[in-house]
Every structure is written in C-alpha cells, then in structure tokens.
C-alpha cells in the first residue's frame, strides 16, 4: 500500500503545478468577480422598485445556481485537461519506465495517480464552490439548500470525468483521449437536456434517448441532482434550464454513477496492468 500513497503524493504535487490548474483558478476568480458584479447590479435594481420578497428570493436563488453551474462546468473541463496526459503522456515520454520498474504493483501506480488528481480536483471544487456561495451570500444573503450534498455531487461528477481520462489514457494518445472524453461529456450534456425536454414533450423516444445518453456518461445527471438538492422545489420548477427539476435523477441514478465509476476504474486498472509500456 505504501507505493499507492507515494504515487498519490507525487501526483498531487505534479497536478498542483500544472499551469492549466492555475489558469482555471484564475478563470474561476474572474468569473466569480463577474458573478459578484451581476448580483450587485441585480440587488440594486431590485431595491429601485417594489418587489415581493418571494420573487426576489427566486431570482437571486436562480442567479446563485448560474454561478454554481459555471463552477461545475469549469471544474469538469479543468479535470479533463489537467489529467489527460498523466497516463498517455508518461507512457509516450518514457517517464513511466522509471516508475513501473520499481517494486510497486501497476494498480498502485494507477490508483495513486487517481487519488492524487482526485485530491487536487476536490480542493479546486471546494475553493470555487465555496467562493461562489460566499459571494452570493455576501451580496444577496441567499444560501443554497444542502450545499454539502451539492459540492459532493459536483466532485463526484469530476471524479467520473477523471476516471474516463484514466481509462482512455491507458489505451490512446493524449489527444485521442481528450477528444473521446470531451465527446462523452458532450453526450452527457445532451442526455441531460433531452431528459429535460422529455418533461415537456412527453415523447417516450426522447426520454429513452436521454436516458441512454446519461447511462453512457452519467456526469451531467449528477449535476442535475446537485441542482435539485441545492434549490427549493419551487425555484427548480420555475424554469427550463440545466438546473430545472423537470426530470430529477433519482437515487438510483446516483448509485448507477457510483457503479459506473467503479467499473471504469476497474477496466482501466485491468488494462494498465496487462499492457506493454
């Protein structure tokens, strides 16, 4: 087990040094500033005319969800871009040769790398998520419902994207890996929207298509579950958006995502264990 923790430690330090991470943090900070200004403008506008506290709360809560959705998108993209070459790149550069000839099992190399990135991604999500919540609270006084569950589900979504970059990284080059994982992310996004549309259109085929897309890549359904957890039921039902609760992923969908993550990691480990380096 020692090898696993050594690999996790070195990978965390390696991941934390990636320029893309710091760029993503900078992007997050800029978006947070824009978000704060938008909220401030909205609050000022509300104060200039009479408005029911109920409507005001719904609008501000909706804006908070926009901020959190931005966090979610940025976190997933950052996860994919930082981890995309950790396996494929080290195989092609030969860096892996000095590691894989040490007396540690291959699953420890892969598992350690995964844990290292997972820690980095979790810290990133917690920083941007808590930043967004803090800004919204400071400006509007609105807090999300169940923020811990929401943050955990966003981290979970990132861990799925991470597992997929690891899986395809054991097979393909860095570039191919990126195209595949971003493509799957697109499928998940599409699935999420199709399921939303189905709430209005009542088309069974669209529901099926949406469900299949979400089964292929369950990341987006975790975001929709997070959105459901973080807003009041009424707020969620008022809009047609990535945070509307027209079609809420069930507990089973979350359990499916957990099983999906386990299977993806198991296949990645199996393949990495057997492949030539």
């Amino acid at each position: 087990m020692n090898g696993l923790w050594i690999m996790a430690g070195i990978t965390f330090r390696e991941a934390a040094r990636r320029r893309i991470l710091w760029t993503a943090l900078l992007c997050g900070a800029i978006l947070l500033a824009i978000f704060a200004i938008a909220l401030r403008l909205q609050v000022d506008e509300f104060q200039s005319r009479p408005m029911s506290p109920f409507v005001r709360y719904q609008v501000e809560s909706g804006m908070l969800m926009i901020g959190l959705y931005t966090c979610d998108l940025l976190a997933v993209v950052m996860t994919i871009l930082t981890s995309i070459d950790t396996i494929a790149g080290e195989i092609s550069s030969g860096t892996i040769h000095a590691i894989a000839t040490k007396p540690i099992a291959r699953w420890q190399i892969l598992g350690g790398k995964y844990l290292g990135f997972a820690a980095m991604v979790s810290i990133y999500v917690l920083l941007t998520f808590s930043g967004t919540v803090a800004v919204a609270y400071a400006v509007t006084g609105v807090l999300p419902e169940h923020p811990m569950v929401g943050a955990a589900l966003i981290i979970f979504e990132c861990l799925i994207a991470l597992a997929l970059t690891f899986l395809f990284g054991t097979w393909f080059s860095t570039l191919t890996n990126g195209v595949i994982v971003l493509g799957l992310q697109g499928a998940a996004f599409m699935g999420g929207w199709l399921e939303q549309v189905s709430g209005f259109s009542q088309s069974a085929q669209i529901v099926t298509l949406g469900v299949w897309s979400s089964l292929l890549m369950p990341g987006e359904s975790l975001w929709r579950r997070a959105a459901y957890e973080m807003q009041t039921p009424l707020a969620g039902s008022l809009s047609f958006s990535p945070f509307a609760n027209v079609s809420i992923p069930s507990g089973t969908a979350v359990a499916y995502a957990a099983a999906y993550l386990a299977v993806v990691l198991a296949i990645a480990t199996y393949h990495f264990n057997r492949r030539d380096l």
């Binding site: 330090r13 860096t95 894989a100 040490k102 380096l277």
Partner: protein, 307 residues
C-alpha cells in the same frame, strides 16, 4: 532452469506486436557478478528484450528468469535498478528529492535515505547540484541522476540502456568506474550500448543479437588469449629468422622493416621477440593488434544490418 550461477536466464523469449516479430527467440545466460554487454543493430529487439526482463513488456512466449524468479514480479523488481535510454522525470524535483522518491518507491526507510542519497549523488559527481531542480539539468546531468536513481537501493542487477550516450569523456570514465564498482560489490550489470569502444573496455562478456536471437557471444576477458595480430618494427631480420617465426605464427607478412604476424595467442609474443633478438634483429616496436569490437560487430552482423 533457474540456477544460482546466473543472474538472468532466458529460453526462447519471444515477443510479437501484431504480425511483427520483435524478438524471435532469445536464449541467453548472464552470469552473476559480471558486466554483460548486449549488442545488436537498430531494430534487433534489444529494447524489447530488456523491457521483457524488466516486466514492462509481456512476452508472447518463452521463459525469463531474473535472480532465480520469474522476470517482472514485484519481488524481482525490488532487487533491480534500471536506467532508461532517455531518462526523464518531473523536472520540478531537485536531484536529492528525485533520489529520495525513487528510494522510497524501492522501499527504503527515511534513515537509510538520509545516508544513501548524498552518497549516490557524490558517486555520480552531482554534489554541487544536489538541490537544483532537474529543469536546469543538461542531458549529461540527467543521465547521471538517472544512473543514481538506478543505484540508490543497491540493486543486485542494474540494467542500463545507453548510459553514456549523453556524456562527455570524463562522464563516460566516471560511468565506467561506477559500473566496475558495482561489479566489485557483486552486482551484475546488463549494458545496452551502441558505443562499442565503451563496451569493449567495460564489459566482461558480450552477446550479439540479430532479429531477436543471439547470433554470437564473446568473452572479452579471453580475447587476448585468442589469435592475435602483432605488428613488429625491426631492422636486420634475416630470411632464416623470418622462416623460424612459423613456429609461433600462422601468418607472417614482411614489408621492409615492418612485420605483420598472426600468432595463436598473445602469450607467445615474448618468445617471438626473444627469437628475433637472438637471430640478430634489432627490434624497435612490438604492438599486439586486437580486432576491434566494431570490426567483430560488422563481421557478425554483416556490412548492412538492415536498419
């Protein structure tokens, strides 16, 4: 198949990549405590063979035993060190941090590392750069730190893939001395290099491989006892003295004061000199000529090894 006498034994080791046969059937025995040279043209299957011995590549067929156990197991890897051809690592680590990391991956404790890391850095001549990041290292310095990471845990076998390719003559001599020191402490060194001059002065034994098979083996320590060409510069060599040389020589070519002799062994040279001097010749120079490894290589592989 396993025996204590050999550090590495392979029998019919084979690797196919799809339809391409990278290693056809490698059978070799590497005695313990020797510096062993692994030679062959590009594409002969050297790197794939080394990777199979290290457990990086899974053989398609055959057996490989390293230190009495199947090649590539975690336990076997505990006792081997490896310097890849183009050693690269996270360049934000300092030389000391890199060695400590590799030592820990090999299972070394902190106390042992505190003693060993400065020692190995000193051995490869990087003490002034111990706390510098690898980012600023030249190719030669990376090669040195790569060698250090292969030796940090005092392995029983060291595999080196082109260890001196990025080094200047002083660095090469240092590597040579380190490899000899490894042999002297009982370790086996498995060396893959294109620099035949280096191999010739470093290795105890070499094998030549072609298309993934051993085509020749040579004990370099015994080469001086084999047939040797000797160039002699001598004045007043009488025809009878020349004829008398046939007692020790298989071929005698005289060109003025220059004689080119082929003897059955270098050990006969003193007797030849005594014979020439006693017959009245004035001997100025006697230079035994050994066939350079490069010529032997070309002779074995053929002029065009088919890169």
């Amino acid at each position: 198949m396993a025996s204590d006498q050999f550090a590495i034994e392979t029998r019919g080791l084979r690797k196919e990549f799809g339809r391409t046969v990278a290693v056809k059937g490698l059978s070799l025995q590497v005695p313990r405590g020797e510096i062993f040279g692994f030679l062959g043209p590009n594409g002969a299957g050297k790197s794939t063979s080394i990777k199979m011995l290290l457990g990086l590549v899974r053989p398609t067929g055959g057996d490989a035993i390293v230190l009495g156990a199947p090649a590539g197991t975690v336990d076997t890897r505990r006792r081997i060190g490896f310097l890849p051809e183009d050693f690269r690592f996270y360049d934000w680590l300092t030389a000391s941090e890199l060695l400590a990391l590799h030592g820990r991956l090999c299972g070394m404790e902190h106390a042992a590392l505190r003693r060993r890391v400065p020692e190995v850095i000193e051995m490869v001549g990087l003490t002034p750069h111990a706390d510098r990041r690898l980012r600023g290292f030249s190719k030669g310095m990376l090669q040195r730190i790569g060698l250090a990471q292969a030796l940090v845990h005092e392995p029983d076998i060291v595999f080196l893939d082109e260890p001196t390719s990025g080094l200047d003559p002083i660095g090469r001599r240092m590597v040579r001395d380190i490899l000899r020191a490894q042999r002297d402490r009982g370790a086996t060194v498995f060396l893959n290099s294109h620099l035949l001059g280096e191999i010739e002065i470093t290795c105890d034994r070499v094998v030549f491989i072609k298309e993934g098979e051993v085509v020749a083996a040579e004990d370099l320590r015994n080469r001086s006892r084999d047939e040797t060409r000797v160039l002699v510069a001598a004045h007043n060599v009488s025809p009878s003295a020349l004829a008398g040389l046939e007692r020790w020589c298989t071929a005698v070519v005289a060109d003025g004061d220059q004689l080119s002799l082929t003897t059955r062994s270098k050990e006969l040279v003193p007797e030849i000199v005594r014979h020439l001097v006693s017959s009245g010749a004035e001997v100025y120079e006697v230079v035994p000529q050994r066939e350079p490894l490069e010529e032997l290589f070309v002779r074995i592989m053929g002029k065009d090894p088919g890169l």
